[in-house]
């Protein structure tokens, strides 16, 4: 256990801090003034797409998790927006790097990293949620093309995306895990219809996507025909790491502490109320535990179980932080959308509702518990139902 930085890392931290100080005007207020230009600048500096090879549009540094950590910490401390972390950058790019063809890497990684191509993820279906391998959206072969029909659900950013990476059943005769391919689909292909799905937040964060005889060249398959299930599993691990990110949780805790120090009831600060203070301290301990757990997963090869619990614990904790914020706001906590008494533009209320979706999405809490029990603790899998 040694948490001091080597001189090289300490110098690197200074370099990142100096960059952020010099560019403070580019992100005044916490958002990039010109997001695409900001992203290009970050890639040039090596603060985004750091380890993606140069020939594919990244910075090309050797993997160094501690430098990655230093960048993340410095950006959070400065309130600076990180590089783009949408599903294209976080999930598609690592997948292409791992199993994509040379042509696919050259065609897609650069524009995705630069934010020029936005992706959506076509995995879940109305009848294939936790049991994703039962998905039915399927392709019929026609010469050099696949002709795809079916529908996808919970597709965030489908209304903005130019491209989708999707799981499609291309081998109807194969066993269910082996009949799926990972296919890249342009969203402007005739036969695709996107319908916004309004959630309890009042907004449409997700979409339904319908495919009617959508024609896609066969060379848009990534990682080989029938290999889609295994390709997708390499990506899911990236998604789960992102969903439980302790840096985001710590930022939310800090916002909650600020809220409780500034809001008053009958002139008394919320944080001076012993019950609220106690609840805050309970959550702070959990946030610290997840923060150090996250640090540990970077450098401790014995931390397998510590990695498996991140999605479950992180998403639950985020939700509880939002819940305490709403309780601290009291009657003000029911305000929403607009109005002179609304706090933080209703962000806490939105988080409280939307984050329930993150507990469910990306592998539900119950699926996470199965994974922890089976892969982490070695408990037996649920026996398959007897064949009728």
């Amino acid at each position: 256990m040694d948490l001091t930085l080597t001189p090289e890392l300490a110098a690197f931290r200074e370099e990142v801090r100096a960059f952020l100080a010099a560019h403070a005007e580019d992100y005044a207020g916490g958002a990039a003034r010109e997001p695409l230009a900001w992203q290009r600048l970050l890639i040039e500096q090596g603060y985004a797409a750091r380890t993606v090879p140069r020939e594919y549009g990244g910075y090309g540094a050797a993997p160094d998790i501690l430098k990655g950590r230093i960048i993340a910490e410095a950006f959070i401390a400065a309130g600076a927006p990180r590089g783009i972390a949408n599903q294209g950058v976080s999930m598609l790019v690592p997948t292409l790097l791992e199993v994509g063809s040379e042509a696919q890497k050259r065609r897609w990684i650069g524009p995705t990293l630069r934010g020029e191509v936005v992706w959506c993820q076509g995995y879940s279906e109305p009848d294939a949620g936790s049991d994703l391998a039962s998905l039915k959206t399927s392709a019929i072969e026609d010469g050099d093309d696949f002709v795809i029909s079916g529908s996808k659900l919970w597709t965030s950013t489908a209304h903005l995306a130019q491209m989708m990476f999707a799981l499609i059943r291309t081998e109807p005769q194969a066993p269910r895990h082996e009949g799926i391919s990972y296919v890249l689909i342009p969203m402007d292909t005739p036969g695709i219809e996107v319908r916004p799905l309004k959630t309890m937040t009042g907004q449409a964060e997700f979409n339904e996507v319908f495919f009617t005889e959508v024609r896609v060249p066969k060379d848009q398959v990534v990682g080989g025909r029938g290999r889609g299930w295994f390709v997708a599993n390499t990506t899911l691990k990236h998604e789960r790491g992102m969903l439980g990110d302790p840096n985001a949780t710590e930022a939310r805790l800090n916002a909650l502490i600020e809220l409780m120090k500034t809001e008053t009831v009958d002139g008394q600060r919320i944080v001076d109320h012993p019950v609220f203070r106690d609840r805050l301290m309970q959550l702070q301990a959990r946030v610290f535990a997840m923060k150090f757990n996250g640090l540990r997963t970077l450098t401790d090869e014995t931390a397998g179980l510590a990695r498996l619990v991140v999605k479950l614990q992180g998403c639950e904790l985020n939700h509880q932080l939002a819940a305490l914020a709403i309780d601290a706001l009291g009657e003000l906590g029911v305000l929403y959308q607009d109005g002179p008494h609304l706090r933080a533009k209703g962000r806490w209320q939105w988080n409280y509702m939307f984050d329930l979706g993150l507990i469910i999405g990306g592998g539900t809490a119950q699926i996470q518990k199965n994974i922890i029990a089976e892969r982490g603790l070695g408990l037996p899998r649920e026996p398959s139902p007897a064949k009728a």
Binding site: M1, D2, L3, T4, L5, T6, L9, L66, I257, K261, V271, D272, P274, R277, D278, L280, M281, Q282, Q284, A285, R286, F288, A289, M290, F292, N293, L295, R296, L298, T299, D300, E301, T302, A303, L305, A306, V309, L312, Q313, Q366, Q368, K369, N370, I372, A373, E374, G376, L377, G378, L379, P380, R381, E382, P383
Partner: protein, 358 residues
């Protein structure tokens, strides 16, 4: 930067675990818990061979000169087997008190004996930390102590007592008055009541020593709970893999599997919190009071959850004396209340970051 145990630290814990299998198997714990022995000298002798009493004592005084993280790893190993050993008082708090506030003479007199296992020390610091109950508390005046200290740690057979008075001053009492056993739920360790009547005491230097002792004690109790809770989880998982009902092992039912997953999901991040709190005690003193408080309070909460959940996974037999699971259950229960329950400790956490008006 490396957030992981070093090879030496892992080795220390492994050799301690192996020694404990020999000197403190469950039969030995049972004999101590069910009997009237005030101490288990054979267990302590076995641990002394490994140098455990001198863990924190500097090499010049015959110790190993290691840090609080190593002590926390030892506490975890002891908690894992609910060992009857005077570790907290004799090997951690008394040496720290001497190190932080003892004169050169006091250190030279006691530290080598403690390090060699030739003397043991008790610690009476409950009242100024957890609050005074039933009129307890010690007054110091003119080199003499008067009053009663409750929940005194490692007092039976101790050659030396470190005593905190009502206002937080620390004193050394040689040849202390005989302790009265306090019968607690946790029979694997002995807590005592000690009454001082015009008892001779040497003052230790004034300063923030008591707060440092408190932080160290909180980290140790958290680490002890970490070890005990890990054992309860491991035993629940093992039991769920062998116990069959409805033609299947019960660990294949999600209702049981999810209880095990929830325990693991709570415990694994808590391990990192305990490590960090122990590390901070030596290497990030500004953060130490906050982290020690969070470690103590958080491990109290998840310790309670795991103690009851593991028992539940075992079904009815978990309640019985046959398995002995209750020793762990009760050890975790005592760690939760000793030197302050979680509500009180969280107040200290708030205060440590300026969030508490009091």
């Amino acid at each position: 930067m490396r957030f992981a145990l070093s090879e030496d630290q892992t080795l220390l814990q492994d050799s301690l675990r192996r020694a404990l299998e020999q000197v403190a198997p469950l039969e030995r714990v049972r004999r101590f818990a069910d009997g009237a022995e005030a101490t288990a000298p054979d267990v302590w002798a076995g641990l002394t061979e490994l140098g455990l009493p001198g863990l924190l004592i500097d090499e010049a005084h015959g110790g190993l000169e290691l840090g609080l993280l190593e002590a926390a790893l030892a506490a975890e190993a002891l908690g894992a087997v609910v060992a009857p050993a005077p570790f907290l008082g004799t090997a951690v708090l008394a040496p720290l008190a001497l190190k932080l506030a003892g004169s050169a003479g006091q250190q030279a007199k006691w530290l080598p004996k403690l390090a060699a296992g030739e003397a043991t020390a008790g610690v009476a610091i409950s009242e100024p930390i957890a609050g005074a109950r039933d009129g307890a508390g010690v007054e110091a005046s003119g080199g003499r102590l008067d009053g009663t200290a409750l929940f005194v740690i490692d007092a039976p057979g101790a050659d030396l007592l470190v005593v905190a008075d009502r206002v937080g001053g620390l004193h050394l009492v040689e040849a202390p008055p005989g302790p009265q056993p306090m019968s607690t739920i946790d029979a694997t360790r002995r807590l005592s009541e000690v009454t001082f009547r015009d008892t001779m005491a040497e003052p230790l230097a004034s300063g923030p020593a008591l707060e440092r002792l408190r932080d160290a004690a909180w980290v140790m109790l958290a680490a002890d709970t970490l070890g005990a809770a890990q054992t309860m989880l491991d035993r629940a998982v093992a039991y769920a893999q062998e116990r069959r009902q409805f033609g299947r092992v019960i660990g294949s039912f999600q209702a049981v599997k999810h209880l095990c997953a929830e325990m693991a999901a709570e415990l694994e991040p808590a391990r990192a919190l305990v490590w960090y709190a122990a590390y901070a005690f030596d290497h990030a003193p500004d953060e130490a009071p906050l982290m020690a408080a969070h470690a103590k309070a958080h491990l109290s909460e998840i310790g309670r959850f795991i103690a009851r959940t593991s028992t539940e996974v075992h079904g009815g037999v978990g309640m019985t004396d046959l398995l002995g699971l209750h020793y762990w259950f009760k050890r975790i229960g005592l760690n939760r209340q000793l030197l302050g329950g979680p509500e009180r400790v969280r107040e200290a956490a708030a205060k440590a970051q300026g969030l508490s008006a009091v």
